[in-house]
Symmetry: D2
Subunit: 393 residues, 4 copies
């Protein structure tokens, strides 16, 4: 736990929808379970609508509000800016914050275009030279089972990686009656399933294997091109009326890829896999072992040890709730599973720890840029008859 004598770290959060709520919980909770070098203060929450941001600040536990994010950057009580807005605003806010000397945590995908992401990575590099830290929010890295997966690969227990298969399956817009939202507009969201959820499995597979993708061959599809405009709002869209709008992003993305070490990979990101709510499924096959993970059973990692005698070899269902597992010792006794939001708490822990140590946290903006390049290559391949498209190193 974080003792009261630790110096404070003033946090300003921009955005208070789904991600804003998750980040708020993490800022509130992390110091109660982990020993952080700095004590986070929930200084200010920013949003354009005064009434709404005021309500949200009270609900989420923030001490004050701003209706212009630029004011947050000017405040002395803010040392870290947490960006939870739609992707089209990430570059402007994050770069300005870094230039104002604020540490930045930015939600993924880092940006809506490679050019934006490049500018952000450059700003992050400049800021790092001055001790200002930045991190992109690929929170699923912080699920203990994912951390264990990476450890096993790093320890060589999988040997040479040959196959990666990754799917991120949701179904929340499979029904054509689900109304429009900013996540379905290209100018706001950048892309659809590709950037929203495909970005996660690109990051996760690269993180687990310790390798990067060298190229892709891809297809994109929009199954439902026109949807009702919403007449009210909800967590993910609200209720639709009789007027309609155009969906300008992909509903699904599938692509082949190859990793630097030679492994073949298949990827699928979709919001049309009926019955799958938030199924992040990752499998890795190596010459010495294999792994399988499904976020629908997030506290479990399946591991096949190929060095076991054939008579007793089998995928082990490791329940990743032991004190020996990443992050777990801070929580409950063995067997008491964690939930979705714990990844956000762990993200705060890793970020604040790095800031305290004067180190650059990961994933960096450069990591976020690299993922953006993969997404860009996917779009270019899909637009070019699925032709193999290299990813710049």
């Amino acid at each position: 736990m974080t003792t009261p004598d630790r110096p404070s770290l003033g946090v300003g959060l921009i955005g208070y929808a789904f991600m804003g709520a998750a980040h708020s919980h993490a800022w509130r909770t992390a110091p109660h379970f982990f020993d952080l070098p700095l004590r986070p203060e929930l200084a200010v929450l920013a949003g354009r609508n005064r009434a709404a941001v005021t309500e949200a600040a009270a609900r989420l536990g923030w001490a004050s509000t701003e209706t212009d994010w630029r004011r947050v950057l000017e405040r002395d009580d803010v040392e870290l800016v947490d960006v939870c807005t739609p992707g089209d605003t990430h570059a402007e806010i994050a770069i300005a914050a870094l230039e104002a000397g604020k540490h930045v945590l930015c939600e993924k995908p880092l940006a809506n275009t490679v050019a934006e992401a490049e500018a952000m990575a450059e700003a992050a590099a400049r800021a790092a030279a001055n001790g200002v830290r930045s991190m992109v929010g690929f929170t699923y890295r912080r699920v203990p089972a994912i951390g264990l997966a990476r450890q096993l690969v790093a320890q060589g227990r999988l040997g040479e990686i040959r196959h990666v298969r990754a799917q991120y399956l949701q179904d929340w817009i499979a029904d054509p009656a689900v109304p429009m939202s900013w996540r379905l507009e290209k100018d706001k969201a950048g892309s659809g399933a590709l950037g929203d959820i495909g970005a996660h499995i690109v990051d996760l597979t690269q993180y687990i294997t310790g390798q990067t993708l060298t190229g892709v061959s891809a297809m994109l599809e929009t199954f439902v091109a026109e949807r009702p405009l919403p007449t009210s709002t909800g967590k993910l869209g609200g209720v639709g009326g009789t007027e309609t709008g155009q969906v300008t992003v992909d509903d699904a993305a599938i692509f082949l890829g190859r990793f630097t070490g030679g492994a073949l990979a298949t990827f699928e990101a979709t919001r049309f896999a009926l019955g799958r709510k938030n199924a992040i499924r990752i499998e890795v096959n190596g010459s010495a072992g294999s792994l399988a993970f499904d976020f629908e059973d997030m506290n479990v990692l399946h591991f096949f040890d190929g060095t076991e005698p054939a008579a007793v070899a089998g995928f082990r269902r490791i329940i990743v709730t032991e004190p020996e597992h990443p992050y777990v010792a801070a929580w409950w006794p063995a067997g008491h599973g964690l939930g979705y939001e714990h990844g956000f708490t762990h993200q705060v822990v890793d970020l604040v720890t790095a800031i305290g140590k004067g180190e650059d946290p990961t994933p960096s903006f450069a990591d976020g840029l690299q993922v953006q390049r993969v997404l860009d290559a996917v779009e270019r391949s899909a637009a070019a008859n699925s032709t193999w498209t290299e990813i710049p190193a």
Copy 2:
């Protein structure tokens, strides 16, 4: 969420070990996600060791401390006392608190003996007449999948209940080197696996079915009768030295039972099921449908609808993370699973809601007494050659 204009509810927590940490998290978190009629204030944490309780209060977010629980009852800023101490102190603290006009949340099992539990239930009944509320902490009732299970039974979708099988399997003392702790001493813990975890499956099966047990036939066993005394402490025991102590509780309890509606039941509670960390497994078979639950996969309920045509009938794996499911709408979008501690948060929600409405929350002390009577019947049957032992209504 709980708006700032809500009246406050001052809370005093007695105990700060495993359960104390879980309750603290719940008191802190509930108002941020749920709209409570009263705004909990974490007023005071009590424990005998001043240094330890001071550290814990800072870590867990309590505003002040006391080293004598009796002082908590005298404080005007305390309207609710939360009892998280070992079972041998429950009766004294809870009764005194109720008599002092404080609402009481008491961890399970309610007490170490039926006599104590009877006294507590009587105190609770007297207090209720004055609008003072009490609840026993069977938190697993608040897991959304368990709530859904109860709903399905209540809706008649299982028909007449014929079979219940329930297991609570752990393995944390399977190794004889695990040292002594208060949970292994009868005078502190009342019983071993029986009261610690068996109580949960008794409560859960009664809760889900809406019926109570009428009798049992039982066996108890202590596999490892002597263990090293601890030389340091940890969440569940610490490290053992060369001196040893006697284990005076059961390591495992198994029993047969019958429910009021005629169903046959088998129960097993053990800390020696190697490889099972916290596996609460409950199955119910009825004339129209069946259910299966395993806390190792806590966001899932399996439901067999016997009215489906045979060709397409099968146990459905319901991922209980939809807004339609109990408690879930307050959290994340569909598919984003909850963890162990959410049950405690839901417990706070239900308790504060009931207090706000002026209603008696459940499970009541009377419910806790009834579970205690089941545990007592188990012990009596085990001592009497497993002979069928009736449970007083």
Copy 3:
């Protein structure tokens, strides 16, 4: 495979319903996959109804028929009698066959009463002195995953056994409209779920652990006491009419037990577990490891190795289809699963191999008698208020 130069073994089969069909398939199939010391000849099929037995013999591949089982025992071309009739006839037929010098394979349960089983075991012992062999048909022992389970226990990989839990769950008479059949009549079947399916889990748990049960505490229940009499017949009962008959056996049996090594055990056998078709579920927890098996996924054995470091320990899903596994090398390449009837084929293999070697096969009639004693103790305990009832050694 069995070469043509092997001496023949003439087989006479009594009964041609479900079990008769399964045994016929095994006699036909075993020599094509396994190298048997004797070449089975399907000499004669016996049944009381001439038309029916003639049709069955053609269908099942038998060379001739008899309508009186006694004639089978007189035939020189019959060296082995395979008894697939209801339990009330086992003793008479098997004893007569042994006395006629024929080897005997007898379906389980060995008999309907302990007295009958004792007479059979004595007859078997007398016959064995003359080189006449006998075996009782607990075929599930021959499922490769069960064989592997026994090996792991025998190798000490589970350490000291502490818990056994076993369930045999079916649902084929959960519907009260399912009509009467001989399996529901005590004078034909001896008992209901207890002897029909409970006998299997008694045998399997004893076989896997290498231990026997020392006592039980039990309950029996008949949920549906009156059923329509059948107007036509089918594999397991046919269609019911308006007249009814009394069910005189148990619908379900549950019992506690203790094994010779001290382990606690729970057992459940029922035909009322809606949604479970043929779920034989066995779990064993030891001081060094654990096992779990479910016949609904019959080619899989789950094994927890408690000696693994905690960070990578987990139940392994061993797909028991490798050549290293019992019986598997004779069949298909790795990963190509076996089905229900393979157990019968393996039974023939083990029986004929033992006869060829001049050894007594297992499970013996003495083993069958021991199981019968367990079933008898269950009935006596259930009739005596579930009081603990010892099983004679």
Copy 4:
């Protein structure tokens, strides 16, 4: 069952390795469980090595042998030729057999090239005009769960198909020490994982959806290019020596595809997925429902009914062992699972039934040709930078 009065159907089998053994079992077994219009006679087994074919005929139950497959075509007692040789001989044998007026069952893939497959399909069409029937052996279609999957799609319970994901994962050559065999030589096998196992998932997904693939984007990979030459032989390769040979086929194939109805598809076929023995995994997501199948649990089909209320919706684990399911009524009571080889038996049933009715069985040689065209497009796309490659209709 097949009554003795049925006319006979003389069968000649060419090849007696893995597939020959599986087909032999099917020919022997089918008439005992199913009512066939013709009674199969296992007339002759052909193979080049006299000693080996003689041994195999005795073992597998064939009445006579030939060492030249052409002699089989000249025999009057052969009315059907069953081709179980490596793919490079399929065209020659099958066409000659058809021209000799024999019905033909030909193992998959139909041929090693599109040209051969075209010639075979033309020969089949000519023969069909004369009442001579032909079928290609995609046996996995006959797994009951696959049949049920097709029925559900055909009944509209999935709605419009949006996603197909299919994997056939094995690991039998993941170890570089596994020696060469004909399956690793392009001139014998045509291709590697692509044709051997990829062909199955192409056929199965087309069969289940009732649609065909319109194009693909693909990658092929050979992870281990050089392997020891075998010094002895076994079911799938034997033991390797010090001399080596070149692997001239793919070890793995991955490809994207699109179905005629617009669905996106991902395919993966590999022999390097360590820990997966014979995992045929197929998922289909539609607008109204979803399906999932894994041959590692071959008696189960998972079905999500999207029309269920969200609170109780979930993938149902349908155990496909009910009499209502395809083929099952002929076997055992509910819940008694089938194994790998039952698909071959069902194949015989469907083939003989079609011949008896004077109908063309499916899958036809034309179907086999279409699959060959998919495989060919995969190879061409992989050779052309993964560019989208159309499949001729």
